[in-house]
């Protein structure tokens, strides 16, 4: 069987990356159906040598679609993802709309593919920052147990969409020429206060919650707990936007249940883990940076070192392409995993057909 695959938000930064991942996917694809808002309908996207017209994302457009990858924001997902499932499409949703719902699996295939088993047509793709962190921590969790995570992020602007990338480039040009500008996009397009990102860093990603953490920081808490199936796992995050187009970096401090016998043992656990590349050699100044990982599906880990005071605490530097493993590849990887497991169909009770 070959599938009709829709990408919702096909003209966005993640949508474009999803189409690129589908191009190199092992999934048998009969047809690509790029969807977007009415404004973008009529544009075309390139797919395997053809120019494919973008159609407006409406409930009816999902008729005959087998798989729909959503990345057009929470509002679009809330409005259309249930409609797509009702029409028989398995949805992998990249928004935060359904991630924490009990009956929606939240999946990083290397970590918790088993959660796909009883899906009901809708699977959630985790937040980009969460994905790369759990890929790196899963092997340590398995070998030593995880008690607590403290993470500081260095997040690329592409995580905030194409407009934010354009803003970084525009602002950088003005900055280099010594000219002023009015920041218009970051930290959050829909909130009133804007800050420059060129020659600056911004410690706000998404809106604030009443507890003083941002929604992005709380995603890292709640999603990590759900993916690991451990509601008692302690996570503390500070999420920061940096003037980088693509590639999220994270300084991760992890408190393990059990102290590793040696750091070689930690490195071995990481090396053996799927989706992880250990890129770590201080004597050769080897460690990952955003530049290294662009276009890569793997999560790169370096700066692996034991805490100076607590033998059960380890520090890591984790870098991945936020558009690839952090979004598009993880979504396509979920679809490939469903296909391999014979699960790429909406259970009879959920769809109309």
């Amino acid at each position: 069987m070959a599938y009709r695959v829709a990408v919702v938000g096909a003209t966005g930064a993640v949508g474009e990356a999803m189409i690129a991942e589908l191009e190199r996917s092992t999934l048998p694809i009969a047809e690509l159906v790029p969807m977007a808002s009415a404004r973008s309908a009529g544009k075309t996207v390139a797919f395997r040598g053809a120019e494919v017209p973008v159609v407006e994302a409406t409930p009816e457009a999902f008729s005959g679609v087998d798989l729909a990858l959503f990345s057009a924001g929470g509002q679009t997902s809330r409005a259309l993802a249930p409609e797509a499932v009702r029409r028989g499409a398995v949805v992998v949703d990249n928004s935060s709309a359904f991630r924490l719902e009990d009956r929606v699996p939240l999946v990083v295939p290397e970590v918790n593919a088993e959660a796909l088993a009883d899906h009901r047509g809708l699977i959630a793709n985790p937040n980009c920052s969460t994905i790369q962190m759990v890929v790196a921590l899963a092997p340590l969790r398995e070998r030593y147990g995880l008690r607590r995570i403290v993470v500081s992020t260095y997040q690329a602007v592409s995580g905030a969409g194409r407009r934010a990338v354009d803003a970084l480039r525009f602002e950088s040009g003005r900055w280099l020429e010594g000219e002023g500008f009015v920041p218009e996009v970051l930290p959050v397009a829909s909130l009133p206060v804007k800050y420059p990102i060129a020659d600056n860093v911004i410690p706000q990603i998404d809106r604030f919650e009443p507890n003083g953490f941002t929604f992005e920081e709380m995603k890292m808490v709640r999603e990590t707990q759900k993916i690991f199936g451990d509601p008692a796992l302690e996570v503390a995050a500070t999420c920061v936007r940096v003037p980088v187009t693509v590639g999220h970096s994270e300084a991760v401090t992890v408190e393990l249940e059990e102290a590793p016998a040696s750091m070689e043992d930690v490195v071995e656990a990481l090396r053996a883990a799927p989706g992880v590349v250990v890129w770590d050699d201080p004597t050769a100044q080897r460690y990952p940076t955003p530049m290294l990982v662009r276009g890569e599906r793997d999560v790169y880990v370096g700066r692996i070192r034991r805490d100076l005071f607590r033998p059960n605490v380890v520090h890591l530097w984790v870098v991945a392409d936020n558009l690839v493993k952090g979004a598009a590849w993880n979504a396509v990887q979920i679809a490939e995993t469903l296909e391999e497991k014979g699960l790429l169909r909406v259970p009879a009770a959920e769809g109309d057909r």
Copy 2:
């Protein structure tokens, strides 16, 4: 009495900032003596409306100098600072050469001015990243006790000198034009491997130590312990260079001996602390960024929040101008403090005169 004040490394990024701080200092200055290597001798620097010639830094040049601010690297400090003291100059040294020596006070005036009491002519200025962190943590230490610090830094390139600022600008221009370039300066000019800093972040500042931490990270451990006079204080740092010209940011997680009664109590302690500005209001999207603090002497603290799981753990976002409070102002502030305490002289046993 008015002083003859030398600035060694007067043409560097920090030297220039030192001269700017001396211009607005309350210290009575009879004469500024800018010094640099033979290569820069003959240039002039502007000071209070005059163009002052730069002289070569030699042992003899310190004759008649009362106060010498050094910022020309560890090698120059090791060679010339003792010579300056021997000739009667009180030295405030911004290099790491003497910071950990037992008989050298390592001083942040807001935190441990009392350490100046029995100086022997040479006072060390701490590392930029350490200074802003201890200013922010001193009031919490006093009120609740400090047990452990985990810090991730977002450090500006000016911390690596003028060449690194030039490199960021050059690389940014090439990046915007889509042209390649060969990185030549960062992370460490004297080490073989170089990485781009435009559109990138680099998790290495200074060379690596055998324990896997960088020297910069170990400075934050050892200097913080020394400044607080607490060799058991646990500090874990990840130091990262970001594409920002001026202004270091730090995500600081601090484990206190005692859980604060409320976060209002924490904010009050910070507000009352000298050299600290609390800049924190999530509802107004108020938090410090590098752009906010440029040219400021104070350390700005925002994102103040209690850990979700451990009541004795607090998270802070700490931003300061690395050239001002992180280097030049702290050095001039040490000199002003010495003057106020009647200590701006080399004790008889140390100098020759």
